[in-house]
């Protein structure tokens, strides 16, 4: 009760009580799938906390130094100051390695949580009017998260991440007309450059986090302003939101989820090795490590490069280098379609009405089928990004693996589209025919050995 005079003192000056009262009563629908976005948010919190720690020790400098730390296999070798600082962080800074590993695992889970959250939004039609703006903000956040991941992956300046930078450089110079100018602008010259590491650092710790955190705040503000959408469960209508208040129910759920998310990330970072840069060694322009993959969320981009046949189109004296189509055009189209989806769907269906109630995936067979097909394209491209590892695991020649995936990238999404559409239709028609959702049936075994259905009460 001692706090009350102080709170009153603050409220008399800022007048926040009414605002806080409304905020504490904000209704959260009671469904687990509404927590997926929160998982991404909590991963971001862990990323910021561990990231600040790492920034205290990281040196964004490509100058050559001689490694003299405790890791014998690199002692005496010429490495960049950036690589040297990550080695020091890993082996000499107290808790440095576990912080680095938690940061890296949190990054992988962060993007995974965003993707799962995105899938929930997509398959339930939560992007429809009035939530198109927040869909656009969300796509922006996904792009920022990918940019964060790719810039962070490259900071240790090890052989693996240097290989990734080389691929990025090659894709950028493949853009017709502007490619070489753009690549020189970004990298500060022809690859490899000494400028790139410090530039990536500025993007990774300053510009991109500011945009990402700002974007998250906008994302949440719009959510609060528009209120949650909800499933068509008991009592839910287009006019209300059924659920539980922010205080106390949701606060406890979210706090528990935050702590457990952090616990899982600490578990991974503490127990499972990730990105052992001491094994890869420092970046060296004359050497390439194998197998070389980006982190999972960029694997589909690498996979597209690996699958696309080496075709170079020359027309009217203009050459379109082969990495341009899989490396720039394809991701551009993929993100273009994703960004415009709410508007494309509204245009195709003629449905411009407001929707507060969510769809079940089966209720929109075409959308669900498109989503599954898109997801399958992503999965197969991701597999293609690891084609040499997949080939090793299944003892298949790499060339055969590539050809199998070239067929699969066309056939599997088409097949997935057809099967998904068919299943959704069947489920939906069956429900239409009976007029109601059919729950589970309870059976009783009779003395004679037969079964009879117990009527629902």
């Amino acid at each position: 009760m001692a706090a009350e005079p102080m709170l009153t003192w603050i409220d008399e000056r800022l007048g926040l009580a009414a605002w806080a009262r409304a905020g504490l009563r904000k209704v959260f629908p009671d469904h687990w799938s509404f927590l997926l976005g929160e998982v991404a948010l909590f991963c971001l919190v862990v990323l910021v906390l561990t990231g600040v720690f790492l920034t205290l020790f990281y040196v964004p400098d490509a100058t050559s130094v001689t490694y003299s730390g405790p890791w014998a296999p690199l002692r005496g070798q010429s490495v960049s100051a950036a690589f040297d600082s990550v080695m020091r962080l890993s082996f000499e800074v107290r808790a440095g390695l576990v912080m680095r590993q938690i940061h890296h695992w949190a990054a992988l889970v962060f993007v995974a949580a965003i993707v799962v959250h995105l899938l929930r939004i997509f398959f339930t039609g939560a992007f429809r009017r009035p939530r198109e703006i927040n869909w656009l903000v969300g796509i922006g956040l996904l792009l920022l998260a990918l940019a964060m991941g790719i810039t962070g992956y490259s900071l240790p300046d090890d052989l693996l991440s240097g290989t990734g930078l080389r691929v990025i450089y090659s894709v950028v110079i493949a853009i017709p007309f502007i490619g070489p100018y753009l690549a020189f602008l970004v990298f500060g010259g022809e690859f490899p450059t000494t400028e790139i590491v410090s530039r990536l650092f500025v993007f990774h710790v300053m510009l991109l986090p500011a945009l990402l955190i700002g974007g998250v705040l906008v994302h949440l503000a719009i959510l609060v302003r528009q209120k949650h959408s909800q499933y068509a469960l008991a009592g839910a209508t287009e006019e209300n939101v059924v659920g539980r208040a922010f205080w106390p129910s949701q606060v406890f759920k979210s706090t528990g989820l935050a702590i457990l998310t952090a616990a899982v990330l600490a578990l991974l970072g503490g127990l499972i090795q990730i990105n052992p840069i001491w094994a890869y060694g420092p970046f060296d322009a004359t050497t390439v490590s194998s197998p070389a993959q980006p982190d999972w969320y960029a694997g589909w981009l690498d996979g597209a490069l690996r699958l696309f046949p080496p075709i170079e189109i020359t027309a009217l004296g203009i050459t379109i280098p082969s990495p341009f189509i899989p490396g720039v055009l394809l991701p551009g189209i993929a993100f273009g379609v994703m960004t415009l989806w709410p508007f494309l769907e509204a245009w195709a269906t003629g449905d411009h009405a407001e929707h507060q109630l969510l769809d079940g995936p089966r209720e929109r067979p075409l959308r669900t089928a498109f989503g599954v097909a898109g997801l399958l394209v992503f999965v197969i491209l991701t597999l293609a990004g690891g084609n040499d590892v997949v080939a090793l695991v299944f003892a298949v020649p790499v060339e055969a693996m590539t050809n199998i995936l070239r067929v699969a990238i066309v056939a599997v999404p088409l097949l997935g589209f057809g099967i998904t559409y068919r299943i959704c239709r069947e489920l939906y028609d069956r429900r239409e025919a009976t007029g109601e959702r059919r729950g589970s049936v309870r059976l009783r075994r009779t003395a004679a050995g037969g079964f009879e259905e117990i009527e629902p009460d």
């Binding site: 687990w32 014998a72 469960l233 990730i274 050497t287 490590s289 194998s290 590892v389």
Partner: protein
């Protein structure tokens, strides 16, 4: 109402405890001794140790079908004239020969088919067929691991991987993992280039010893950072991130997000 709560608490406690333990472990692992001595290489037999005539007898029984009765080679197997003791010793001691896979496939490591004395005899016979590399005697040197790492990354890692866990090479060939390769076998492989592997005989003996020392270091030294999940980079890392990371969190989401008012009927 009372039922699931203790389970939830238990889960939360278990995760927290595991997280805390996890946060402390790798520090200990990272600071683990790096000065432990490398495993000494087991000395292999020299060609002169074996009995050429006894080797010839075994050769006729077990090898001549493919390599010909004087080791001159047939349509089924290459000539062994001039391959040297190093090649015979490597192929026999890694169990790659006698070959029992389907024709055209790669010979892989398996337990040796012969005992030590028989292998010495066979090596002596093959060595006597012509002039070829003798069995090397690599010297392990802990001070050479840095030079070895540099050479390994430049020459070996492109196929065997930076952590020597193996990798896929074009044409269906696989560069094997080196976890079971002895120092002598690593040195032999560099001299003879078995299968798809190039011959690295241009490396000096010092360089060869450095590479062998680094491979032994990889095999024997503790790998910092916790459980190694393949040491081949982002593919297993992404898999673990999704399945174990997001998977565990989704379990939490399902538990936390369920309707605690009771059954929904």
């Amino acid at each position: 109402m009372d039922g699931p709560m203790p389970r939830l608490r238990l889960l939360a406690l278990a995760l927290l405890a595991a997280g805390a333990v996890g946060a402390l472990l790798p520090g200990a692992m990272a600071t683990g001794s790096q000065s432990a001595s490398l495993r000494a290489g087991s000395r292999s037999s020299l060609a002169s140790d074996g009995d050429v005539n006894a080797g010839h007898a075994v050769f006729n029984a077990r090898c001549a079908t493919c390599h010909g009765d004087t080791g001159q080679g047939t349509a089924l197997g290459p000539s062994l004239v001039g391959v040297g003791a190093a090649a015979a010793d490597f192929e026999l001691r890694t169990g790659r020969m006698p070959f029992n896979g389907s024709p055209g496939t790669q010979a892989v490591r398996k337990p040796p088919a012969f005992d030590d004395a028989t292998i010495r005899n066979l090596v002596a016979y093959v060595a006597a067929l012509g002039t070829g590399p003798a069995i090397p005697e690599p010297r392990l040197d802990t001070t050479a691991v840095s030079a070895g790492q540099h050479l390994f990354i430049a020459n070996c890692a492109p196929c065997h991987g930076a952590t020597a866990r193996g990798g896929a090479v074009g044409g269906g060939a696989l560069a094997p993992p080196l976890d079971a390769a002895t120092p002598v076998q690593v040195a032999e492989a560099m001299l003879i280039g078995p299968g798809e592997m190039p011959v690295f005989s241009s490396l000096s003996e010092t360089d060869r010893n450095a590479v062998v020392s680094y491979v032994a270091y990889l095999q024997t030294q503790p790998d910092p950072g916790g459980v190694s999940i393949g040491g081949i980079g982002p593919v297993p890392e992404g898999f673990v991130g999704w399945v174990l990371g997001l998977g565990l969190i989704l379990v939490v989401v399902l538990v936390v997000g369920r309707d605690w008012r009771g059954s929904r009927a």
